[in-house]
């Protein structure tokens, strides 16, 4: 979206070649960067930040980064934008809370079981909804989320509409390192996979599922695997969330606002990248947290407006836009082919919209 004229200042301070070099640098030292980020993330408690507001806010940032990155595995990498990822979170949260409260299971076991339950749930639901495409997939996932919320509201075991209150909450530092640990593990897994055959096939499904099928890939298998991976991390985060928040009910476990926030985070950071959703989560959560304290009640108005502006203004997000800017020089180096990529993307999406919306695996 960035036009040639309005970036004059940026161009002189940070020319595209330099950004391109920066991307290359990050690419070569990616593992060191991930390690460095993990160490930096682990430092605040060492230097005395052990409780209070800031601690909670940073833990939540890690939590949201997990959710946004999980969304992106299916939404960004595989091209199946889910509007129901909070269903996995809710299933995880309820599994964790029920095990902790009614079965007196230990915290680590409860969290792991929560992740497993969410993954199994995703496998079953995935076999149904991943056959759908486009509008139908998006709405079906939204339906799954709302159905799960309504069912949890009406069952006995989930505590109905009043939910579950949890006691014996461990100190905040446990959750801080738990969310950080899950996030780092997820970054490593997603980054590793993005350079494997598995990751490439996911991207191939996103770009053209028909062709991926024609090349002999069982796309249903790959889609379901990606979907389950997303559910695993989301479910783990959910499993710990009940205790972190000290209570859950259908509104918090299947939080509709979070459902939009995590998509917005992935979108603003840059879908289909590893760094994008994480950057988006940190950035947007900081803003929302600030607005929530300064103008109580207006944070969701802002979220809605921010989503609209991002979609219209820079749908590639921070990382995607930077990447596009860095690749500008390719126009000259590769004889103009790179410059037409953007236009080609547009027509692809337009023809996709007219395709029959149900994929045929057979």
């Amino acid at each position: 979206m960035s036009t040639k004229d309005d970036t004059g200042l940026l161009r002189s301070v940070l020319p595209p070649e330099r950004v391109d070099q920066l991307f290359d640098l990050c690419g070569t030292h990616s593992w060191k960067l991930i390690l460095l980020s993990a160490v930096i993330g682990a430092l605040p408690p060492v230097f005395g930040l052990r409780e209070g507001y800031m601690m909670t806010v940073i833990s939540e940032m890690f939590l949201f980064a997990i959710l946004a990155l999980s969304w992106d595995i299916v939404g960004g990498q595989t091209g199946y934008p889910s509007f129901g990822n909070m269903a996995f979170f809710g299933i995880g949260a309820y599994t964790g809370a029920i095990l902790l409260k009614d079965f007196a299971v230990s915290f680590p076991l409860a969290v792991v079981t929560a992740g497993v339950f969410a993954t199994v749930f995703a496998a079953i639901i995935g076999l149904i909804v991943l056959r759908l495409r486009g509008h139908y997939f998006a709405i079906a996932t939204l339906g799954v989320l709302l159905a799960a919320q309504q069912i949890s509201r009406n069952l006995e075991i989930t505590g109905g509409a009043s939910g579950k209150i949890l006691f014996d909450v461990p100190p905040g530092i446990v959750f801080y390192y738990f969310f950080l640990g899950v996030l780092v593990a997820e970054i490593i897994v997603v980054y590793y996979l993005s350079n494997t055959r598995f990751g490439f096939i996911l991207n191939a499904i996103r770009d053209d599922e028909g062709k991926a099928t024609a090349m002999g890939f069982n796309t249903t298998y790959y889609k379901t695997a990606a979907w389950m991976l997303a559910a695993l991390f989301t479910g783990l985060a959910g499993g710990a969330y009940g205790l972190f928040n000290t209570f859950i009910d259908p509104q918090t476990a299947y939080n509709g606002a979070w459902n939009v926030e995590l998509i917005a985070m992935a979108l603003m950071g840059g879908t289909g990248t590893v760094a994008g959703p994480v950057i988006g989560a940190f950035g947007l959560h900081t803003i929302i947290e600030y607005v929530e304290t300064a103008f109580v009640g207006w944070q969701l108005v802002l979220l809605g407006l921010a989503v609209i502006v991002t979609v219209i203004g820079f749908p590639k997000g921070v990382v995607g836009s930077l990447r596009e800017y860095a690749n500008e020089m390719d126009y000259y180096e590769r004889g103009g082919m790179a410059a037409t990529d953007g236009a080609a993307d547009g027509t692809d999406a337009a023809t996709d919209a007219n395709d029959p919306e149900v994929t045929t695996d057979e």
């Binding site: 939404g75 934008p81 998509i263 547009g346």
Partner: protein
Amino acid sequence: MAIAQFVVNGLLVGALFAAVAVGFALIWGVVDIINLAHGEMVMLGGYTAYWLLSIATGTAEGSVLLFLATLPVVIAVLFVLGYVLQRTLVSRVIGTDIFLTLLVTFGISIAIQQLAIQAWTANPRSIQVGFADPSLIVAGVVIPKMKLVAFFGAIVLTAILYLFLQRTRTGRAIRAVSQNPEAAALVGIDVEHTRAVTFGISSAVAGGAGAFIATILNIEPQMGLIYTLKSFVIVVFGGVGSIPGALTGGLLLGVVEELTAGLISSRWTLAVSFTLLIVLLVVKPQGLFGTGADE
């Protein structure tokens, strides 16, 4: 006899669902967008009628005629809102990724919903329409008069929309754009304007239905998403672009919900509706009446 009562209740409410769904299907068919903010138009229609009555009478109560008098204003307000939304925001993402079109309407939905909470609080409200004798009893089945008025109101709204699309010049332009935007542009139809008019009409019908909903059920700022999803259930059932299909789907959904509420518990109606949505998508994504989304 109880079953007959539930079925009648369901049909009465179902006509309103159908009127909401018809507008949703219209945008889907013509602009090729799933408007996730469609339910918010229902909500805004309800609130517009509520506040108009409040201004006129001091409380949100009044006679049927007074309530019906607010409808033209509701329809006009919602038409303008829909037109402007399409012209300024939605038109910018048409032809890009489906995900972006969904997300922009989702953003609009949240922004409107949250602004409504800020402006009017999250409390449910309703319009009280006074009748000297509030119910008819036909063969042992109780029919509240206001529900009957709402039922016919919804049918009339749907019928007007149908006739408008079939008989008027603008209606033909809308159908032309839905079939082939390029060809429509070639014969001199202003495609952007026509799409915005479609959005406006669809919002206006949803708003009109919302005003009736305010008289027989509650309205609250967060009601929108539920109506959007119900519309989706109905349209998937009836087929995209089929008004008779949407009408049948709406009536059926109403009956299913009322039967669930009556025979099991009213707490389960939404769970049943959303589960029905998933089942329908899996079993019959092309709908029972239409020929599917690719038309």
